[in-house]
């Protein structure tokens, strides 16, 4: 058993973080809970002298929203699509970066560049890549000023061009674009983390494998992945937590419309819903939605933890 001296020590180590968290994280959460149970709470109206009754009306209102299921579906779908794809890609890139000799410095440097790239620039690139400028897609009157870089490439390769994000685009096309964008956005961070993790693996394991003449694939699955598993677990779990809070990437592609212009809100997510409510100072409703989202993320994270407990080698 743990002796009390150690207990005491551990809390000393933790104290700076805990004090700050209590003030700047836990207290706001308590306040969020409070607001969620005050019917139609609005901070500004409270200042103006309004009073609010205790109740669960905010939660009802959120669930009754006819696009609530839609928001939930988008949130979950994007999460399930993007987290595995970005994790696997990042793992492959990190391992490849770690294994090469020539060009290593140049390539590593390039993979750092996204950190100094402004987010507005990233949004602009996507506009240029997927956006079709023109009208009447798919009709006799079709007019296309420019079809976007991706469509140019597709047509060059002999494929039909796709209406990705404009009026008349399909939900599937929208989701593909979002998946590409989110994966793209998430890659640099994941590569950085996994690269850091790879460097912490004791080189002796690899030396031993080399001596054995163990094939590459076996080294990857039997040494790299197991020893990297704490970092992989981290990347997956935080990826899911972040994925459930997806919002700004959709604004990046579709703007405040949160969907193609002829179907506004089609791609709205839970956090998008929260933003909408905050826009008109409906903080009670926003808080209720945040707690519902919290519940969902909590369940998913518990499942993730259970799975990783079996798979992660510490």
């Amino acid at each position: 058993m743990v002796d009390s001296k150690h207990q005491w020590k551990a809390w000393i180590y933790l104290s700076p973080a805990i004090v700050l968290l209590l003030v700047f994280t836990v207290w706001p959460i308590i306040n969020t809970v409070r607001m969620s149970f005050l019917e139609n709470y609005s901070g500004l109206e409270a200042v103006g002298g309004a009073t609010f009754e205790f109740g669960i009306g905010n939660f009802q209102k959120v669930i009754e929203y006819k696009r609530f299921i839609n928001c939930l579906k988008n949130t979950i779908l994007l999460c399930v699509l993007t987290v595995p794809v970005s994790t696997i890609l990042a793992l492959l890139i990190a391992v490849a970066l770690n294994s090469i000799k020539g060009l290593q410095k140049v390539l590593q440097t390039i993979f750092f560049l996204p950190y100094v790239t402004n987010s507005i620039a990233i949004g602009m690139v996507f506009a240029a890549m997927f956006n079709i400028v023109g009208s009447f897609y798919g009709t006799q009157n079709e007019i296309v000023v420019t079809a976007g870089i991706i469509n140019n490439v597709l047509e060059f390769l002999g494929f039909e061009r796709v209406n990705w994000i404009n009026a008349g685009s399909s939900y599937e096309a929208n989701i593909i674009v979002m998946t590409v964008y989110i994966v793209w956005n998430a890659l640099p961070f994941k590569i950085l983390v996994l690269l850091g993790g790879l460097q912490s693996i004791n080189k002796q394991y690899y030396d031993a494998a080399k001596v054995d003449g163990t094939p590459r694939r076996r080294v990857f699955t039997k040494i790299t992945v197991p020893l990297l598993s704490p970092m992989l677990a981290y990347v997956v779990i935080t990826g899911f937590i972040g994925g459930f809070k997806e919002y700004s990437s959709i604004v990046g592609i579709f703007g405040e419309n949160m969907g193609p212009v002829d179907d506004v809100g089609r791609l709205n997510t839970m956090v998008g819903f929260i933003y909408d409510a905050l826009e008109t100072n409906k903080q009670g409703r926003a808080s209720a939605a945040a707690l519902i989202l919290f519940g969902i993320i909590l369940v998913v994270t518990m499942i993730n933890m259970q799975v990783s407990k079996k798979r992660v080698h510490y």
Partner: protein
């Protein structure tokens, strides 16, 4: 881990019920004590939330902050006139802070209000004011406007604290009335600088083909048809803003859009469904497109050159005139000359055009002298002809005072108007000529939601191939607004 999380959840639930209980007992935050919600009667019988102290401005030293969105060039104009203002009121220090864009200003102020940290003065749009009004944080200006207290300025001259009849009459009516759009008939804002929508047309093309500039939507329809026969590949008309189009059509038809009191969302009615259906056939015939549907600036279509697909008319902001100007070609000349006109109307004898652009609102503060000082400054900016003239020329916005057109500097500017390098002046000239046509929409918390929804509705209906679905889309939009 699972058990831990469950116990954690339980703890959270307890915490939550605890917090909710305390919340139930004392739901009102009293931190923003200087935001008074009380209304006090004034002599003139108008009930406002601000009482002018005896003697008006007492000359005490106050610092007022002014949130705006002005870029560097406009900030320079503002600074010059703050210096001028300080010659009259040396004890009033004006601190200007540029806060990103209009949305940034709104979200920042609405966070600051509960703590009483809001600025004294801010750039605002009507729906922002409606939001701040939830906290009763915006000063109702009526008692200030009506005040006849005489104030002696540092240079020895005097002025009336309120607005004189001449000053009131000098404001372009539509702009001034925007301050009263909040459902209670009281004045909350002063217009600062304004813009509207105008019709840009390819004058060279119009002259060459003997086309007349349309004044009504019926003429527009005929013209589009005619242009289609001349250049079948063209989209004759580009409209920047779907929302503006919808709202302006409501105004021109006199059919309901929204109301500041009672039932807010009134835009689902037969007239509106009819005009949307009509414009849908325009779109389907290839007569027009909008910025969102087009997927790029419609001005880009208008200024397109050579064999590119182009439009010959573009309806967009009067402040963006320079964007509607085609670039200078290799031969040193612009490919065509731009003409500017009032947008088409339902009834050309009773024109209606939208009024956009920022106004000024003044916030409640515990020190009434700060409010008075803010008022004096706001009044200075909005009623000083020289400032309005210079600011308009620098910004491309339209002045809010009629007499600015008599200002010699501004006259020179307007006289230089042409469809080339001086297109901004041409745009301003057209705006001034239609001064009686400006309207503003009711403002309430959620009015910007209505605006977003009708814009989306318009876009969705234009591109819908099945006309019978349109009624349903109106229904959906109303539902979304009312949620």
């Amino acid at each position: 881990m699972k058990k831990r999380i469950i116990s954690l959840l339980l703890a959270l639930a307890m915490m939550l019920s605890l917090a909710a209980c305390t919340g139930g007992e004392t739901p009102v935050e009293t931190t923003g004590s200087n935001v008074s919600g009380e209304t006090t009667p004034v002599e003139s019988g108008v009930k406002t939330n601000f009482t002018v102290p005896e003697g008006g401005y007492d000359g005490s030293a106050v610092t007022i902050t002014f949130y705006n969105t002005m870029g560097a060039s406009l900030q320079a104009v503002l600074t010059t006139y703050i210096e001028e203002f300080n010659k009259l009121y040396p004890n009033i220090t004006v601190v200007t802070e540029q806060i990103g864009n209009y949305d940034d200003v709104r979200s920042q102020i609405s966070t600051e209000i509960p703590e009483g940290n809001q600025p004294n003065l801010a750039y605002c749009y009507p729906d922002h004011v409606a939001l701040y009004n939830l906290a009763k944080a915006v000063t109702q200006l009526d008692s200030l406007i009506e005040s006849d207290i005489e104030i002696t300025r540092a240079d020895g001259t005097t002025e009336i604290l309120g607005l004189t009849d001449e000053q009131k009459a000098d404001f372009i009516e539509g702009y001034y009335n925007e301050g009263k759009q909040f459902g209670d008939g009281l004045m909350y804002t002063l217009p600062m600088s304004k813009s509207t929508e105008v019709l840009y047309y390819n004058k060279t093309f119009f002259d060459a083909n003997n086309l007349t500039v349309p004044t009504t939507w019926d003429e527009m329809e005929a013209l589009c048809k005619q242009i289609k026969t001349i250049d079948p590949a063209a989209i004759p008309l580009g409209y920047d803003s779907e929302a503006n189009w919808f709202i302006t059509m409501c105004e021109q038809y006199g059919s309901p859009y929204t109301s500041a009191s009672g039932d807010h969302y009134l835009f689902h009615n037969d007239t509106n469904v009819e005009f949307v259906k009509k414009f849908r056939t325009w779109y389907q015939n290839g007569y027009m497109t909008t910025q969102n549907i087009h997927g790029g600036y419609t001005s880009g279509l208008f200024t397109a050159e050579g064999n590119d697909i182009k439009s010959y008319m573009s309806i967009g902001s009067s402040a963006g005139a320079t964007h509607q100007l085609p670039g200078v070609g290799d031969n040193g000349q612009r490919p065509f000359e731009v003409g500017i006109a009032t947008i088409p109307q339902v009834d050309a004898s009773n024109p209606k055009v939208i009024s956009q652009g920022p106004s000024l609102c003044i916030f409640q503060k515990s020190n009434p002298q700060e409010v008075i000082a803010s008022w004096l400054f706001a009044k200075y900016l909005t009623t000083t002809v020289e400032f309005q003239a210079e600011f308009s020329m620098a910004s491309g916005y339209v002045p809010v005072l009629k007499s600015v057109s008599e200002n010699p500097l501004y006259q020179d500017f307007i006289n230089s108007a042409d469809g080339g390098n001086f297109i901004a002046a041409l745009s301003a000239k057209v705006c001034l000529e239609q001064e009686n046509a400006y309207y503003t929409s009711p403002a309430f918390n959620g009015s910007s939601k209505a605006r977003d929804e009708v814009g989306a509705l318009m876009t969705k209906c234009l591109t819908e191939t099945d006309e019978s679905k349109i009624e349903g889309y109106f229904e959906d939009a109303i539902d979304e607004c009312e949620y």
